[in-house]
Symmetry: C2
């Protein structure tokens, strides 16, 4: 399997996956790149190019088999494996993530939340306990945790990232508005809500409507 697929291609894959899942639920068996284009807004040509980075999943004269393509994309996206995760920062956002159902669907399991506020340590979100953040490093090492989520204020984000790095985590999902410095072998994916909000604001000011900027 070739390795150097561009990030712009990869960022489109989840959207394909989402629509294929919807088609699957509707019981639709096949789909052409043209029909996928109508759904996703990407051109048919681009869709074919994108998919062919990973293999020839289609069939001339027929199109793509929905359930096969869905399964293949799931594999490509790594959704066929379960990862253990922890959440640092058990405020509203941390609790929202802990409760987020899409999280389990993607094969992630939250084993614990961590916080430094003694008032909430010991509480449970669903059945997930909030523990003292001082226990986090050992917990990660002892429970085969591979993903660390950061939902703390930005002031603490780099400290948490450092602890994560020491603990041997492999990936960080960062919600703090900060660019984390981590060792080369750790993957960081950012959700920068403030940036998203600023972009909304930009287009509002200019009164430029239309979906999906």
């Amino acid at each position: 399997m070739g390795n150097k697929v561009s990030i712009t291609v990869i960022r489109r894959l989840p959207k394909y996956y989402r629509y294929l899942g919807e088609l699957l639920n509707k019981g639709i068996a096949r789909i052409s790149s043209q029909e996928l284009s109508t759904l996703t807004g990407f051109t048919a040509s681009q869709i074919r190019q994108d998919l062919n980075n990973f293999g020839g999943f289609g069939q001339q004269g027929y199109g793509y088999n929905v359930s096969e393509l869905y399964r293949e994309l799931g594999k490509i996206l790594g959704l066929d494996k379960v990862y253990n995760a922890v959440i640092a920062g058990a405020g509203n956002l941390g609790q929202a993530v802990a409760n987020y159902r899409g999280f389990e669907d993607a094969g992630f399991k939250v084993l614990s939340l961590f916080d430094k506020n003694p008032k909430i340590i010991g509480l449970k979100i669903r059945d997930i306990e909030i523990r003292d953040v001082d226990l986090m490093e050992n917990f990660i090492k002892e429970n085969n945790v591979e993903i660390g989520i950061i939902t703390t204020p930005k002031e603490n984000a780099q400290d948490i990232a450092n602890t994560y790095a020491k603990s041997g985590l492999r990936g960080i999902w960062n919600f703090a508005p900060a660019d984390l410095k981590v060792p080369e072998n750790i993957v960081v994916e950012n959700v920068h809500l403030n940036e998203s909000l600023f972009i909304l604001s930009y287009f509002l000011k200019r009164n430029l409507g239309g979906n999906s900027h």
Copy 2:
């Protein structure tokens, strides 16, 4: 002011704005494109190109005045105006957004949350009341609300978007994993957590580390 600045440029502006804010807090008065490059990871050349889409904010031999550039970018991003907002969906995520401090910093004011669950209608998040979603349309019309946030399950997202459109809102900040259909004059900015998570998963599977994919 020219109008057609590409979306790829616009998506970099919030990062410039964030770092300039940090420099301002540190009391740093000037910065070169080269120094900004070190901070942001974009090339100096690209930074100069980006900024020159909006005007010549720099000075040869000197660089950029931090507070001036910060202020100018704030204007470009529309952060110099206050918008009223409401939130549909008062679960964890909706409450997290209501409590999110970056929200006020960007000039957005949440006037009310709305939900259909009678158990939480009437409660307050900080001092923001949760109201019955049936009252939402009138509330928006009567309170000069311009932004609608969607933190409901995806099943309800399009209905909420329709109500927003009827209410005369101008912008939607959508957290549901769905592509909303809205009239041309309404701006939609999406925060697709599931897509972000899938991308983290993709890079984890491939064991490709490094920041900022």
